[in-house]
């Protein structure tokens, strides 16, 4: 089954150049937007006012690139069934299970990328443990935000993607060594934000993804969709 899912992942992505799609253009715009913190960080005219953020190009680029790869994978490989799957001998329940497995497989693949990113950041870039812990949890949630239906663009998913990336990025304000009182408040505040804002949004998104999977597992809905 894993071989089949992997083959599906590799071969059934969207073939059209990503920039030719509406989502691709949004992705491109977001990618440029994500470059903004780097520009703020490294522009000498501005960075002197933002004293809390460390000038670590490699660290920022690692975060940006890994988040972007996951994002690209999410939009290039939406959870859906090609028409042939609706013609193969499967009933609705089997199609739903297949879609669920595909979704979990893709999400795990993204989580694996996030895990590698966190390891690199922790071991090579000496990022603070609490920051890494936050980025890891935040990144894991980000990993599960796969696109399910091509037609339906969930604003919530875009918002949570945006919040996830920025809140992860802002964890770099923490010093790599001992935390001071202000830093601890930042850590607690971040985790409260994670628990009270991001997590409920994430749970609601997962629920709607589950609904979408059920929706596209039925022949007519999935085929027309």
């Amino acid at each position: 089954m894993i071989r089949k899912l992997l083959s599906d992942y590799i071969h059934t992505g969207k073939n059209t150049p990503i920039i030719n799609t509406k989502r691709g253009r949004v992705a491109g715009a977001l990618a440029w937007l994500s470059m903004l913190p780097l520009w703020f960080n490294y522009n000498p005219a501005i960075s002197k006012y933002i004293t809390g953020i460390k000038n670590d190009v490699i660290r920022d680029m690692i975060l940006l690139l890994f988040f972007f790869f996951v994002f690209l994978s999410q939009i290039k490989h939406p959870v859906k069934l090609e028409k042939m799957y609706y013609l193969c001998p499967m009933d609705e329940i089997e199609r739903r299970i297949y879609l669920k497995n595909a979704y979990i497989f893709k999400s795990c693949l993204h989580s694996f990328l996030i895990l590698i990113m966190c390891l690199i950041l922790y071991l090579m870039c000496r990022v603070n443990f609490f920051a890494i812990l936050y980025i890891l949890i935040d990144g894991m949630m980000y990993s599960f935000l796969c696109d399910v239906r091509e037609r339906k663009c969930m604003i919530r998913v875009w918002v949570i993607r945006f919040l996830s990336f920025w809140s992860a990025y802002l964890q770099f304000v923490l010093p790599s060594e001992k935390l001071e009182r202000g830093d601890l408040i930042w850590v607690i505040g971040s985790f409260i934000f994670l628990l009270l804002i991001e997590l409920p949004m994430f749970i609601r998104t997962i629920k709607s993804i589950r609904k979408d999977i059920q929706f596209i597992a039925t022949c007519e809905e999935g085929y027309i969709c």
Binding site: K4, S7, I10, H11, T12, N15, E82, K83, M84, Y86, L87, C88, P89, M90, D91, E92, E94, C219, E220, Y223, I224
Partner: protein
């Protein structure tokens, strides 16, 4: 046997109205009609891709609601859409989707591919349109279906392969337990090969039944225009008026006016003349 009874399906402005027909075992059935007549919608309903709004459809006594998986084992299809994964070679596509079929026979699939001269590891997406259809046809045959559903396959086949295709279709139904439903615009072959015919127009069945009955039921008359005035209007389904003589598609009656030449219609003549006589309202004969 495939049974459609009173099937209705609305898709936007288009509506399939009260479609009823039986497709028995051991026959080739042609599904014909002009563009937008509802052929593909019927195929999609038959393949379970769409659900009817009203009416009942059974395949060997089973319905999609209860026995979807068993029904799908019985159906093999070749559709205009490219069903295979473009990045994979045909052989790998066979492995990929054959996994879901109990009766998929890889050897037979490879054999058909060789027979159709599709060899090598070229990806499916890089094949020509005709080759793609041949791959799908090979796959459909290798899953050993009971019913073969084909949507416009012959249009993209070269003349040489078209003969082979019909030979394979004949072999397929030879044992009398399997059937083929073929939607097409190229009706010449159907005239020779089809046992059953479903003619659609504007989402309605105009004719359903066997070809013999079709040839008996309708006539094409040709002769001078004034002679057609002797035929009651409700029997004339369509007419083409020429400078010196006219041609009309009529429902066969006991006696036809003298002076007119009568012949059995081909499917193409029927389609052509019927669509010319669109203004008639009383045209549905079953």
């Amino acid at each position: 046997m495939i049974v459609f009874s009173g099937i209705n399906k609305g898709l936007g402005r288009f509506e399939l109205k009260d479609i009823s027909f039986n497709l028995p075992e051991g026959c080739i059935c042609g599904l014909v009609g002009r563009n937008g007549a509802g052929k593909t919608t019927i195929l999609n309903l038959l393949l379970g891709l769409l659900k009817p709004d009203r009416g009942e459809m059974t395949i060997d006594g089973m319905s999609y609601a209860q026995d979807e998986k068993r029904i799908r084992e019985l159906l093999g299809c070749v559709l205009v859409d490219e069903l295979f994964i473009p990045q994979l070679p045909p052989e790998d596509n066979g492995d990929h989707f054959g996994y879901f079929y109990k009766s998929y026979d890889k050897e037979s699939y490879v054999h058909y591919l060789e027979q159709f001269k599709i060899t090598g590891r070229k990806s499916f997406g890089k094949l020509s349109k005709g080759q793609k259809l041949k791959c799908q046809f090979a796959f459909a045959l290798s899953t050993k279906p009971k019913y073969l559903i084909l949507d416009e396959p012959t249009a993209n086949f070269d003349p040489e392969f078209r003969e082979d295709f019909w030979k394979l279709i004949k072999e397929f139904i030879n044992d009398g337990t399997r059937s083929v439903l073929l939607a097409t615009h190229l009706t010449d072959d159907l005239d020779r090969m089809a046992d059953e015919l479903i003619f659609l127009d504007k989402g309605q069945t105009i004719y359903t039944g066997d070809m013999e009955n079709f040839r008996e039921h309708y006539r094409i008359l040709s002769g001078e225009r004034y002679l057609f005035n002797k035929i009651p209007k409700q029997y004339v389904l369509g007419m083409e008026e020429g400078k010196y003589s006219s041609r009309a598609l009529v429902v066969k009656k006991r006696s036809l006016p003298e002076g007119l030449t009568s012949m059995s219609p081909t499917i193409e003549d029927f389609m052509y003349l019927y669509t010319r006589g669109d203004k008639n309202d009383q045209k549905t004969f079953k």
